[in-house]
Symmetry: C2
Subunit: 207 residues, 2 copies
């Protein structure tokens, strides 16, 4: 069951079709925001709407899958840009996730807000998402603190929550006013995290 | 027309009634979030629903007035706590605005997200609100930079946008998980703004 072999045959085909639908949904949402219709998405893939619901039983599930994909893309972007530990470039890359795909960003902002209602179908999804993001960011922050990439005089779990808040909050400001240069502002925030002079970690003993 | 005399007679009575309705709406929203009904609000004041619409023609206008009131309260709280320039206490006071009045916070989060849609009736209101908040925070940041209250090595307009983002973003995280101590995290953020040693502004010449 835990085989790492590449799936083949009907299963692989099914995974490919699911991926096509998800990609089409991403594009449709990017163009039309949360108003993107299942009909439009099905048409982009060339399948019927019932075929679409075979992969994503409800519209909510498909939209949440789009946001999950956005998180994956964002993580990849930030980690590629932050190669070598540049938080400044990682923050700017995170901002581009908003400005390059405003329709998906709008879906994220709207669903995340609506999901604060415990009765929302997306409530559990977002609660878990924030927990996971915060844990990942905390781990990243702790590593950067050890190597002197960011200041070590603040708790890593607080810094991770602040970082997520800055990205969410700047995204919201940009949607209200697209002239706000959120990439530049995110870079300024990253500079606040640079270790103050004299607080660098001690050099590692030579091996 | 620009007389500063205290309003009296029918006008004063009308202003008082408007204030009562606004206060009742604030409490109703605090208890029921955006689901607060006009019927409930009218009942709290002891007026009919038509009397209520004399002061606030639409439900949207009343809800936005509640959010405007929230901003006024938040500003007063932050400025009282920040007396003497303590950004740390001001940030914690801002966080209490969320945790003490979750229903109103939820209305803010939901309407602010929905208003990113240019077709939303609240779109112009929020765009203007963010512009005003950012301008006010920038002015406050510039003053603090001159007196050495916060670091001067980052642009004041960027810091103001980051500060608003942190408050918005932490609020959202708290609504998804009320165990997150956003007051403590906001204080950690404020500490990031403390001027690094050796960057204090030059002492003012003696008079």
């Amino acid at each position: 069951m835990s085989s790492q072999r590449k799936p083949r045959g009907p299963y692989r085909k099914s995974a490919e079709r699911r991926e096509q639908i998800l990609q089409a949904a991403y594009e449709a949402v990017d163009e039309h925001g949360e108003r993107a219709s299942l009909q439009d998405i099905a048409a982009r893939v060339g399948v019927t709407q019932p075929a679409l619901t075979y992969y994503f039983p409800t519209r909510d599930e498909l939209l949440l899958a789009v946001l999950e994909r956005r998180d994956v893309v964002g993580k990849a972007l930030a980690s590629a840009a932050g190669e070598g530990g540049s938080l400044v470039r990682a923050m700017a890359a995170g901002a581009s996730l908003t400005t390059d795909h405003p329709g998906v960003a709008k879906l994220y902002v709207t669903l995340s807000a609506a999901a604060t209602d415990p009765e929302s179908p997306a409530h559990a999804y977002f609660a878990e998402r924030y927990r996971r993001l915060a844990a990942e960011a905390e781990e990243g922050a702790a590593v950067q603190q050890r190597v002197g990439g960011i200041r070590a005089d603040a708790p890593a779990d607080h810094l991770s929550r602040v970082l997520i808040a800055v990205m969410d909050g700047l995204q919201l400001q940009w949607m209200h006013d697209p002239t706000v240069d959120i990439a530049a502002i995110a870079e300024t925030f990253a500079l606040l995290l640079v270790p103050p002079v004299g607080t660098e970690p001690e050099a590692k003993p030579a091996e």
